[in-house]
């Protein structure tokens, strides 16, 4: 098995096992599950960056120019950003969801593996080395925000249900489990911090994309479906940031916006590539 394929297999296994361990930790809070899950997350992430580097070294073709390569970077960056957050804010409990999503996206990316191809003329540009990693990293930050928004919403609705139930005293196992999660405002701050990474990055991504488009296609903005879908996501996260400045909307509503934002990112990333053709599937 060539080195790069071996590394992908290692990453996929590490994410799958890591996801199982950390999901177990999320529900059971058994410390050894966390201690198994964390090294697996790190191992998978290192293997992925190693794989991207190996592929570049072996083929001398920038490895991010097809869906296989870009999904590889997307998943690696998602896990890397998550690991950064987890170390800094002690958020290991959420790793299972990030790793599970990473495993799914990576496995999907592998189905697009076509072997190595030289890039078409429009992709033969130094901008490919700048624009693609930035955009993909912004998507990764939004994935992390999405996971924490989901946890926020789960906790919010579970707490509300508990409150409306009779006899939901401290002995209730669900109540005990919920109290082991960070408080809602703390979860909300984590989402805010992830969006605060993603929004500037997607802005730089759109700007570098525009600079590249100007060089390759003659206009910095052509209303190509991919550009416009990215603009749509940008608008949603802009709405998120504005709502987050208002106390009364911070929390439940902003977290729903973050969920919608990530769905729009997936639409922009995969939906547009697969269903809608445009300049980004440039033929000439």
């Amino acid at each position: 098995m060539p080195l790069d394929e071996l590394l992908i297999a290692v990453a996929l296994c590490a994410y799958t096992l890591g996801a199982l361990a950390l999901l177990g930790y999320f529900f059971a809070r058994t410390p050894w599950l966390r201690d198994v899950g964390i090294p697996l997350a790190i191992l998978g992430c290192v293997a992925q960056f190693g794989q991207l580097f190996a592929r570049w070294e072996l083929t001398h073709v920038w490895p991010l120019l097809n869906l296989y390569g870009s999904l590889s970077l997307f998943t690696a960056m998602s896990v890397a950003i998550y690991i950064g957050f987890a170390f800094r804010y002690k958020l290991w409990f959420a790793g299972g969801f990030v790793l599970a999503l990473a495993a799914i996206f990576l496995a999907y990316g592998v189905t697009w593996y076509e072997g190595t191809m030289p890039p078409v003329p429009s992709l033969q540009s130094y901008w490919a080395k700048i624009h693609v990693p930035i955009v993909v990293s912004s998507y990764a930050a939004f994935l992390v925000a999405f996971v924490f928004s989901c946890i926020y919403l789960i906790k919010y609705y579970a707490e509300r249900r508990l409150q409306s139930q009779e006899g939901s005293g401290r002995g209730n196992p669900l109540a005990r489990w919920l109290s082991s999660l960070p408080s809602l405002p703390q979860l909300d701050v984590v989402v805010y911090r992830a969006v605060a990474i993603g929004l500037p990055l997607i802005s730089v991504g759109i700007i570098t994309g525009a600079m590249w488009a100007k060089e390759a296609w003659g206009a910095y903005w052509q209303w190509d479906p991919k550009e416009t879908a990215a603009l749509f996501s940008w608008i949603i996260y802009l709405a998120y940031m504005h709502l987050h400045t208002r106390h009364s909307w911070r929390g439940l509503r902003t977290n729903w916006v973050s969920v919608v934002g990530f769905l729009s990112i997936i639409f922009c990333y995969l939906g547009v590539n697969i269903w809608i053709s445009g300049l980004h599937s440039y033929k000439v």
Partner: protein, 450 residues
């Protein structure tokens, strides 16, 4: 101003200066943007009737959703956003000032901490101030009603981040408006050996030759013909009247008097030999048709469309292949009579086709052409500056949190002081909770170590 006008003005300012109103505008902007992603833009009206049910297709066309980004809705929503931004900037963002220095009820502020520490109040106050200063806080001390307060501020300048971000957006809008007002763009297909004039600049562009490189690659799902390079050698005559030989490639446009020329596409023009009763028809045979062009057969209602060029036909099956390199070329021709389609066929180069009434034609010779896009955009510098200003605003707003810490130190026993501290920020309390806890640890630690 009359009372009614004053009230209307007040309502206008309240509405347009509200963040929720801004978010509602973003929502509409987002939906319009999404419509343009989903509905194909700039197609022929028939295409919409083919793709959608008739009422939806009619609605798309009537509402300008086939060209949504240049529709009154889209321009209108951007104008409303800019108006709202202006109101908000003058009514809220610019007047926003640092809160005045005044005493607060420490324990009424959600982020607060109180602890006792050895030392007389003056000593403790000095140590606290020193610790805060060392961490970049600006300290001011005031006495209110006999109580001495310390006010620590950080990143106060970053309150202007919002203004910077908003200005960036306005600068981008100004740049795009400048392009609408003064810029132009266009496309042209130039046949090898031919010269064309750009209508807006009078520049002359001659295509000396065009070449392309294709690399056949075997992949898991079959043969893929990967394009590697497209190169146009051109001779361009600009304002100075001096012809210059230049090369245009994808990602390598050329600049002639401020107008940029880009490699956009290529194709194959076709010379047809058309005869009537065996004699060549000079007018029809002298032309080169581009793909998609047609000619009428004189004296009949018949029309022949040169639909497209097929570079390589499979020898065995006689069908077109995906190979874009010219090996065994053919053309796809479509015939119609009085506007009714008669059918289409694949005709190899130099094969005769009978058109009826004594007319015959054959595709004689292909001529490659290069498609260029040209564009003059005087707003691009503004858009670029705006983009960077916007980005700076985002970074300032998200990464530099203007915050204030209120501290008072009271004596609780001889040589024991109580430190009370509370913090507020422009983004509420939660974002600062961890940092406040760390700050308190350092105040406690430092005060006790001393």
């Amino acid at each position: 101003m009359t009372a009614v006008a004053r009230q209307l003005y007040g309502d206008f300012v309240r509405t347009f200066g509200s963040v929720f109103f801004a978010v509602s505008l973003f929502l509409v902007w987002g939906v319009l943007t999404l419509i343009g992603v989903i509905v194909a833009q700039g197609e022929d009206p028939n295409v919409y009737f083919q793709s959608y049910a008739a009422p939806i297709a009619r609605a798309i066309l009537r509402l300008n959703f086939d060209n949504v980004y240049h529709s009154p809705w889209y321009v209108g929503i951007i104008a409303l956003i800019l108006l709202s931004l202006a109101v908000c900037t003058f009514k809220r963002v610019i007047p926003a000032r640092l809160p005045p220095l005044r005493p607060v009820s420490i324990d009424k502020i959600p982020l607060h901490a109180t602890f006792n520490t050895p030392g007389a109040p003056e000593q403790v106050r000095a140590r606290v101030a020193e610790t805060l200063r060392a961490q970049g806080w600006r300290i001011r001390e005031r006495i209110f009603g006999g109580v001495e307060w310390s006010f620590a501020d950080k990143h106060n300048w970053a309150r202007r981040g919002v203004l910077v971000a908003h200005s960036g957006f306005v600068i981008i809008a100004a740049g795009t408006t400048l392009y609408w007002a003064r810029g132009f763009s266009g496309e042209m297909a130039v046949l090898s050996g031919q010269t064309q004039q750009v209508p807006q600049t009078q520049a002359l562009v001659r295509l000396d030759d065009f070449s392309y490189k294709i690399s056949p690659i075997m992949t898991k799902s079959g043969m893929v013909y990967q394009p590697i390079d497209y190169v146009s050698h051109v001779t361009v005559t600009g304002k100075d009247g001096i012809p210059k030989r230049l090369t245009v490639r994808v990602n390598h446009p050329i600049d002639v008097d401020g107008t940029l020329y880009y490699q956009a596409s290529y194709g194959f023009g076709m010379r047809f030999l058309v005869t009537h009763n065996g004699r060549p028809d000079a007018a029809l045979s002298g032309r080169t048709l581009l793909e998609g062009e047609s000619f009428d057969v004189p004296g009949t209602q018949r029309s022949m469309l040169y639909e497209r060029f097929v570079p390589t036909v499979d020898k065995q099956s006689g069908m077109p292949t995906a190979d874009p390199r010219v090996n065994a070329p053919a053309v796809v021709l479509a015939a119609s009579d009085a506007g009714n389609p008669l059918g289409e066929g694949l005709v190899p180069l130099r094969s005769w086709v009978d058109l009826g009434n004594g007319w015959r034609m054959k595709p004689q010779r292909y001529v490659i052409y290069s498609g260029f896009q040209y564009r003059y955009d005087p707003g691009v510098v503004l858009v670029g500056i705006g983009a960077f200003v916007l980005l700076a605003g985002l970074v300032i707003s998200f990464y530099f949190l203007p915050a204030r810490v209120y501290v008072r130190v009271d004596e609780v026993a001889p040589n024991v002081s109580r430190v009370g501290a509370a913090a507020t920020t422009v983004k509420g309390y939660d974002v600062f909770a961890n940092a406040f806890a760390r700050l308190m640890t350092s105040l406690r630690g430092e005060a006790q170590d001393a």
